[in-house]
Amino acid sequence: MSAAAPELSVGAASASPLPESDAVAPPLTAVQLVRTFGVQRAVDGVSFTLQSGRFLSLFGPNGAGKSTLLRLLSGALRPTSGELRLGEEPLRTREPGWQHRIGVLSHQTFLYGHLTARENLRFFADLYDLDRVDERIDSGLAAVDLSGRGDDQVRTYSRGMRQRLALARTLLHDPDVVLLDEPFTGLDAHASAVLRGVLGALRDGRRTVVMVTHNLSEGLEMADIAAIQVRGRLAFWQEAAGLEGSSFLALYRETVEASA
C-alpha cells in the first residue's frame, strides 16, 4: 500500500513549502492519560481535546512530563492507563495507520550521520512506502533550504542544518498530526527563521500540531492554544489569541508556583 502523493511546492521556506491535502483529521482526545516510571507519575491524568487544524504550544518547567506526553501521543511509549482517541475511535498508536499520520520532530534528529541527506530521506520514504520519492525529497530539501547540500553526509552538517533536515524528514510523509519537541533548541538565527517559516506554514487549518517549548514568546506567537504542564498535569489550557508575552510570563510563573 502506498501513501497518497502530496503536492509539494518547491521554493523558499516562506512560499508554502508543505504538502497540501484537503483531508482534515478528526479531533485528538486524551482521556485521563497516565504514564508512570516506577513510582514517578511523569504524566498524571492528562485530558484534553484538540480540534483538527489547531496548533497547541505546551509549556512547562523541566521534568514536567511534556516530552513524555509527546512520546505517548507518538506511540513511542504506552500509557500506563488512560486512552487516546482520534475522533470517536480509540487510537492504537502502534498501528501502521497511526504511524503514517504522525510526524515527530525532537531535539534528537533521528538521522544517520554517515548517510547523505538524500539517502536519509530515501530511507525513511522507503519505510513509509511513499511514492514519488525523488519529487518529495527535492521538495523537502528545498523547503528547508538544503537543496545545495543534499548529497553531503549529514555528519558534515551544522546543528541547524541537521534540525532543518529533520523537519524535512518529519513532513516527508505528509502527516496529519505533527509533534514537535523543543524544535528550536540550539539553532542559530538563520536556522530558527527557516524553521519558523516552515512551522508557520503548518498552520494550514488541517494539520494538528503539538509543540513542546521553553520559549514562551516563540511558542505563543505560533499557538492557537497555550497550555502549561506542571508535575505531569495540565495546569493551564487557554486560547492563545488573548494572551500577550509579558502577561503570559507572569501567568506562567504564577501557574508553575501554584502547582509546584
Binding site: 504511524q99 548517510l115 530511507f123 519505510l127 513509509y128
Partner: protein, 225 residues
C-alpha cells in the same frame, strides 16, 4: 511489496553505513587476522597439524569476531536517536529484524571468508574435497549465530551493561550450534564424504531457522516500550 521494500531499505542503509564507517568490518577483520598471526607463532606445527585444530579455530574466530561486530549494530543505531525514528515509522518489527540480520550476516560471512583465507595463508590449510559444502556449513552457522546475536544485541543495548552483556546472553545458546558446526567443519577439512556431515548441516539449518523465527517474533517486545 511494501514489506520487501522496507526490508531492502534497512539492508541498504546498514551496508552503506558500514562501507563508510568500516567500524565493524575493521574490528572483525582485524581480530580474524590477529588470530591467524598469533596461532601461527603459538602452534608448533611439527607437533600439531594445523589441519587438526583448524575447525575449532575457525569457529572460535567466527563467534568472537561476530560478537564484536554484531554487538555494535544497535550502538550505531543510537546515533542522534535514529533508531527511535525508525521505530516511529510503520515498518513491521520483523522486517526490521530480518533486515538487520541480513546485513549482519553479510558482514559476518565476509569475515568467515577472510578467516578461511588467513588460515590458508598461515597454516597452508586444505579445504577438503567439498569446499562448497564447507561454505554451506559455515553459512548456516553464521546465519544461526547472527539471528541470535542480533536479537540479544537489541536486548543488551537497552541495558546499562551494553555490549558486555551480549556474550553472557548469547554464548550458552550457541553451544549446540558450535558443536554441530565444528564437527562438520572438522570432517570436511579432513576430506570425509558429504554423507557424514549432512545430518550436521540439517541441524545447523534447523537451528538457524528456529533462531530466525524466534527472533522475528520476539524482536518487537525487545525494542518497543
Amino acid at each position: 511489496m511494501t514489506y520487501l521494500r522496507q526490508l531492502r531499505a534497512v539492508i541498504r542503509k546498514d551496508l552503506i553505513q558500514e562501507l563508510r564507517t568500516k567500524q565493524r568490518l575493521a574490528t572483525m577483520g582485524g581480530f580474524a587476522v590477529l588470530v591467524g598471526v598469533l596461532f601461527n607463532y603459538a602452534i608448533d606445527q611439527t607437533m600439531v597439524a594445523a589441519q587438526d585444530i583448524a575447525s575449532g579455530l575457525i569457529w572460535m574466530t567466527l563467534v568472537f569476531a561476530g560478537i564484536m561486530g554484531v554487538g555494535r549494530t544497535f550502538e550505531l543505531e543510537a546515533e542522534d536517536g535514529a533508531f527511535q525514528g525508525v521505530l516511529l515509522s510503520p515498518i513491521p518489527r520483523d522486517a526490521l529484524y530480518l533486515g538487520k540480520v541480513t546485513s549482519n550476516f553479510l558482514l559476518v560471512y565476509l569475515v568467515v571468508l577472510l578467516v578461511l583465507g588467513v588460515f590458508g595463508l598461515f597454516f597452508q590449510l586444505q579445504y577438503g574435497n567439498h569446499p562448497f559444502m564447507l561454505l554451506a556449513v559455515l553459512a548456516a552457522g553464521a546465519l544461526g549465530f547472527v539471528a541470535l546475536a542480533t536479537l540479544f544485541g537489541a536486548v543488551s543495548s537497552g541495558t546499562a551493561l551494553g555490549e558486555t552483556l551480549l556474550p553472557i546472553l548469547v554464548f550458552p545458546l550457541l553451544v549446540p550450534m558450535v558443536i554441530y558446526g565444528a564437527s562438520a567443519t572438522s570432517r570436511l577439512l579432513a576430506g570425509r564424504p558429504i554423507a557424514e556431515v549432512e545430518g550436521n548441516l540439517r541441524m545447523l539449518a534447523a537451528f538457524a531457522l528456529v533462531a530466525l523465527i524466534a527472533g522475528a517474533g520476539l524482536f518487537r517486545f525487545v525494542v518497543e516500550d
